[in-house]
Symmetry: C2
Subunit: 236 residues, 2 copies
DNA sequence: TAGTGGTCTAGACCACTCT
DNA sequence: GAGTGGTCTAGACCACTAC
């Protein structure tokens, strides 16, 4: 079973990529050109490319082609360093685009924070980039009482920094969940990738030091752009 | 773009699965039967099934067919409750099969623990099940000086329990990494799934309270069987 | 406008599972 | 032995990107 041609192809493509990464400037030749070079059809070639995509070695952008994936961003969800800080700390360039600002109810946020289903939230939808590649979209759902004028003043900065500096909120209790997912068409479109692309979904429910609900967020990352790292010391 | 037929198919399949899960006993009809029912080809049908597989709703076993995936196991990598304990705590049935016991060098383990590349380790390879579904394979690399007779006495129980009870080791410092992956043919075969199936790779490097290296392990989970959960309280 | 990736058709053979 | 999923062929059209 391991002698399937598409699996041999993945090995050949791996070597080809290693040797030509710089020369190609990160972009692979067209599928039809690669299929011809390896004397096979586009279907089989795409099966091999999909395997490498699953491994995180390459990725697709829209209809623009296949690209070699940059190194994964190392991310520790147990620390609350802002996105901008830890991206820069790894020598990369962060960027944020705000996609939507509104106030409305959202059942998953309400459930996660123990609030009634019709509880309204300030909703911030934003897309974040590393070195100009869009790597995640996220929705933040903030309890309006905790940050009343949030939507008037928000413009892409760190939300946690804002909550702490302007409203003095202390993000004491965090409940984090991570599951792999296939990006839904709506999320995929905002990340400029094909629907069904593998992703990682990270949710957080955050309460303050008096157990008052503050915020709930849902992140959708491209699966190949992330390495989750947790360092623990002391007793369990 | 969202009107692609295979995306409409995923919706229809979702409903079909919801309504017939019990009746089918968890196994979907044959691909050819489904393709005929939806008046399309196997290629397009499989594209829809692959989307649902990526979402974790269904999975494949070997050449046996498509099955509805059970609920994800919730797993907190920051706690050191053993696999058997937290599986049972969620009302599921754990099982472990030992695949290999040997002593040899392993460069990734050596690097992660700060030891020379030719450092030998006691190696335990095991496959773990939840409710009789194989959900992960893992390799454990233990520094022999810390547990000399390990391979003579090991028979599938909790390794961490053994290290604590028999050798008095205190697993104080843990460095954990998680990345999504596509299962390599060797791991896929041991999990009875097709090569390239989406997985989650979890690595741990463990030192004791005096910073002495004890153990390194590599887990390969089926991506749809896991929900990672971390609960944090107190200051950051 | 030319070329690309995304989608889809209509088959085929093989290795393997099930019974 | 029958049926299944895994793999592969040789095309095709369309929507979109890049120029």
């Amino acid at each position: 079973m391991s002698d399937a041609y598409y699996l041999q192809l993945t090995e050949q493509l791996r070597h080809l990529i290693d040797q030509n990464a710089v020369h190609w400037d990160g972009k692979l030749p067209a599928e039809r050109a690669l299929a011809e070079r390896f004397a096979t059809t586009r279907v089989t070639l795409r099966q091999a490319l999909a395997q490498l995509e699953g491994e995180g070695l390459i990725h697709r952008s829209n209809r623009r082609g296949w690209f070699i994936s940059p190194a994964r961003l190392v991310y520790d969800p147990t620390r609350d360093a802002g996105f901008n800080d830890y991206v820069r700390a790894q020598g990369r360039q962060p960027r944020t685009a705000v996609l939507k600002l509104e106030t409305r109810a959202h059942v998953p946020a309400a459930r996660a924070l123990g609030l009634p289903d019709d509880q309204p939230f300030h909703h911030i939808r934003r897309r974040r980039y590393v070195d100009d590649r869009a790597v995640l979209v996220e929705s933040l759902w903030v309890v309006p009482e905790r940050a009343p004028e949030l939507l008037d003043i928000y413009s892409g900065q760190s939300l946690w920094g804002l909550l702490r500096e302007r409203w003095g909120h202390y993000l004491a209790n965090r409940s984090i969940r991570m599951v792999s997912e296939a990006l839904l068409p709506i999320d995929a479109e905002e990340l400029l990738v094909a629907p069904g692309t593998a992703g990682l979904n990270i949710n957080r429910a955050i309460l303050d030091d008096q157990q008052r609900p503050i915020e709930y967020d849902e992140e959708h990352w491209l699966h190949d752009s992330l390495c989750i790292s947790v360092e623990l010391s002391g007793q369990q």
